[in-house]
Symmetry: C2
Subunit: 113 residues, 2 copies
DNA sequence: CATCAATATAAGAATATTCGCATATAGTTG
DNA sequence: CAACTATATGCGAATATTCTTATATTGATG
């Protein structure tokens, strides 16, 4: 694979690699939202949210629509949301496996006595 | 969603957010590989690769198997590889759209003359 | 136009990531 | 055990990310 493509992929993954930006995208699953909307839903500083939104904008992961005073954000390509869904499946599986390992250990310790 | 889950997701995404680690995982699609294998395939420093592998190990995204002198790495959960596939689809779509936009612009400029 | 509300940007401090180089560890073999 | 091979780790410098605070920009409204 060409380096440039790999760098591009890495930039997208990296943009996804922050809890606040994940929260932003999850809110956008429900539809578009203004910056103030994010502030209210997530309880974070406006400037901070603007900066995280700027990261997503720079990578064209979100698009904006201006309506008077406000700016509505939405996800540009739903594949981004699919990435989040896939990650959710991954997390669920990891947690399940971790629980299973703990239970296995407990059974083993039970047998020890 | 609980914060801890979001942080966990962010950590995985962040681990995916480096070109070298993407390259490592892509190599692992073909099967397990030793550190020296990565060095040869990717042409990077051994220490550097070990460090990137340590990042993937810390997040349990890869597992190791020791055979004598060598350590074989492999992907722990194939869902990680699905993430890469999904990202590939995303990149292809973005490139296609970008090309389409350029062509559209060219048509518009053609009409201008 | 003065003011207000919504959003974006700038600047600096704190922290984290990445890389190169040196060195440590573990297993192998003579 | 000495030498060798494969891999991991420690450390410092360079760079990047993140947050907070202050300020700039943009559109709306009296």
């Amino acid at each position: 694979m060409p380096d440039s493509l790999r760098n591009f992929k890495a930039e997208i993954f990296q943009a996804l690699g922050h809890p606040t930006r994940i929260a932003i995208l999850q809110e956008l699953k429900r539809g578009e939202l203004t910056v103030n909307g994010f502030v209210e839903r997530l309880g974070l500083e406006q400037a901070n949210l603007s900066q995280h939104l700027a990261v997503l904008r720079a990578r064209q992961m979100v698009v904006t629509r201006r309506a008077g005073n406000q700016v509505f954000y939405s996800v540009r390509d739903p594949l981004i949301l699919e990435m989040l869904d896939l990650m959710r499946r991954y997390v669920v599986r990891q947690v399940d496996e971790a629980v299973a390992r703990v239970e296995e250990t407990e059974r083993a310790e039970e047998g020890e006595r």
